[in-house]
Symmetry: C2
Subunit: 410 residues, 2 copies
């Protein structure tokens, strides 16, 4: 069989996804494999077992990252693919797992066809991408590229108070491979979109060219609790109103700035949170994202100016705390274009895309030419048991991954 006609096996890929999804499954159908828990260990054990069955050389680094290497004809820099298998508490079946198991399905397909590549192929499983137990998210890939000192990561406490290093050792994934084990020739990550764009537009493949910069802030407003009936409007210092004004402003900001600026107030906590009491305190979160660092900074500055005016107008105290700040990431245009050409060659609809979510790929992009392949998420739902992607789209993404890797490894 010519390499060009090669296709991955959809049924085999789905079975592998089902097998992993059964580990940590909860009553509502979610997957719960928080990083470095027993469920994460069980998922890792399964993936390592499958890697070994495929003849991959498995190595683990001191971060717990797992690498399965298929030798190339030459012992040179490998082409790498991969993702993560840890989940949030109410994770879906495909987030991360598709990238890892899609990579293994590519290997299985190449093995079956007896195809050797010039460069080695590596399938990577990065530790703690979700950050749902240990902050920050993408910790494993960030530490892999030197962006997070190992000791700092080790000393991180989880939401349950446990130390990262202790938990990593406990589950038996504190390895001894050097960091970084590989500096890949290129890195390609297959992932579900986790957004609604491909689904709504009816497009099968997203060739991801860049990744939004993220600015997360927590805003704390301290006003004055008072009776909602007896306190005239002019005498109010209403933290609840300020929270509302922030949510209203963010929508206006995104509308004014246009482009791909997004702004979200996802979390609001008022105190005392009673119907007839003007809120004394409010804590809200603000999520700003843009693909352009200058515009993201502009959004932050406009928001800061708004808060200053709001505090003065309402007679309240407003403090902000940065919870996360990532600059936008520009992926390698050559790799992104290759993904788009490959999709076209396979007869699949494709569009260039921006990722709104963070992915391990953004970290690996610091040390290697990188891009991502997205497949549609039905109704854009993710981090939810209702997360879903059509089987043929899962297979299409893996086929694009197969041929993109073949091209890069040639």
């Amino acid at each position: 069989m010519k390499a060009e006609q090669l296709r991955i096996n959809q049924a085999r890929l789905l079975a592998a996804l089902d097998e992993l999804a059964a580990i940590g499954r909860t009553e509502d159908g979610s997957c719960c494999r928080l990083a470095l828990t027993d469920e994460d260990k069980a998922g890792r054990d399964l993936v390592v077992k499958r890697m070994r069955e495929l003849g991959l050389e498995v190595r683990i680094d001191p971060i717990g990252n797992i690498f399965g290497r298929r030798a190339g004809r030459e012992d040179i820099a490998p082409v790498m693919t991969g993702s993560h298998i840890d989940t949030v508490r109410t994770g879906g079946r495909f987030d991360g797992c598709l990238g890892v198991l899609g990579g293994l399905e590519v290997v299985r397909t190449l093995n079956g066809a007896g195809i050797a590549t010039r460069r080695p192929l590596v399938v990577a499983v990065f530790t703690d991408e979700e950050g749902a137990r240990f902050h920050p998210d993408m910790a494993g890939s960030l530490a892999y590229v030197g962006g997070l000192p190992l000791q700092e990561l080790y000393d991180t406490r989880g939401i349950d108070g446990k130390r990262f290093e202790d938990e990593l050792r406990r589950i038996g994934y504190l390895g001894d491979a050097p960091i970084p084990l590989y500096r890949p020739h290129a890195y390609v990550e297959l992932h579900i979109e986790q957004g609604p764009v491909l689904d709504i537009e009816g497009v099968t493949i997203g060739a991801v060219e860049n990744l939004q910069g993220i600015s997360w802030q927590e805003v704390t407003i301290v006003g004055q609790s008072n009776h909602a009936g007896t306190t005239p409007m002019r005498l109010r210092h209403d933290a609840g109103y300020c929270a509302a004004a922030i949510g209203h402003f963010l929508r206006q900001l995104a509308r004014d700035m246009g482009g791909n600026q997004v702004a979200t107030m996802g979390k609001v906590d008022l105190h005392p949170n009673l119907i007839n009491v003007i809120a004394a305190r409010a804590k809200v979160t603000v999520d700003l994202r843009n693909t352009d660092e200058a515009l993201l900074k502009q959004a932050e500055q406009r928001f800061a100016g708004f808060l200053k005016q709001l505090a003065a107008d309402e007679g309240v105290k407003i403090e902000t705390r940065s919870l996360a700040r990532f600059e936008p990431v520009i992926f390698d245009q050559g790799v992104a274009d290759l993904i788009a050409r490959t999709a076209q060659r396979l007869g699949l609809s494709c569009r260039p895309m921006t990722s709104g979510a963070g992915h391990d790929a953004q970290m690996i992009a610091r040390i290697a030419p990188t891009a991502m392949i997205f497949v549609p998420s039905i109704r854009g739902i993710s981090h939810n048991p209702a997360e879903d992607t059509k089987p043929e789209h899962l297979a299409a993404g893996a086929d694009v991954l197969l041929h993109t890797l073949l091209e890069l490894a040639a």
Copy 2:
């Protein structure tokens, strides 16, 4: 001593307030005497004991309302004063208690001076004014004037699932006096303002002429949960934004309508309430109040119109549920004017006022000429251990009550 020179005893009044405040006191200094609990019973027992010591004829009706009657020279319709001694979970020392113990201090003062009045004087303690355990609030006075069928009240379940009647019987306050025991010649209630107006303006006495109408709604918004990074603004159905838009609109509404229209969003609950997830659902409360029923209706209508537009614009489902609706109450102008003249005669600063909170007086106003005396709440704080009023203001309020009752009972 001429009746005109008569003054209540400030130290004695403060001691009585302290004595009652000690019952149900919590660690943070709050008073917690939820209606029909053991603490409420202990408070009632103390008040009844003090009533008997003052020679009052104590009677209890099947609602648990307590009446202490001081005979007049003629056996005709009494002049009534009173309030409540139940509290919210974090109640202050004076809310309600000042009206009851202020009334007893008036009796004590008259007894000491050997002054008889033409009409009997009655000090009333109404059951469950706060509604913090059994809905609705002002239940005891509402049932007293026939606004709430006894059986309906009896079958009401508290926040702890207990039945009103069972708890009333348990604490020994299911009496047998007819309902209503008295149709008073007039009713005057002394109360702390629970708002900031008197304190900020430096005025000692409020002659309360009317009481705001209240409209409480719960608004439920059902949108679509999605990723805050990957979902373009145009594709959002953001329940969190809708909650913010409501809070923002309410402020505009109150500003546009002016007068004494107030509007508050005191409670906001988002789901899932996470920084990076567009909220799927929001539940907020809306508190609208006005002294003019037509204007209050206008506010409700404008709000309903806004919600309809918001639901259409954002592509969400919005439902409202009325939690409470009271029309404004106009007190008796003659009684309110008498309070104002009395304050003036005593050399106390006074202003006409609107009550923003609900009080037993609004129910008694249905069967008798009624008005209220307000004294300042420091910083307007109430339902809070920090609730406070200067001792001389407590005494001033009781003096105005004394002379208003004397005039009405003459």
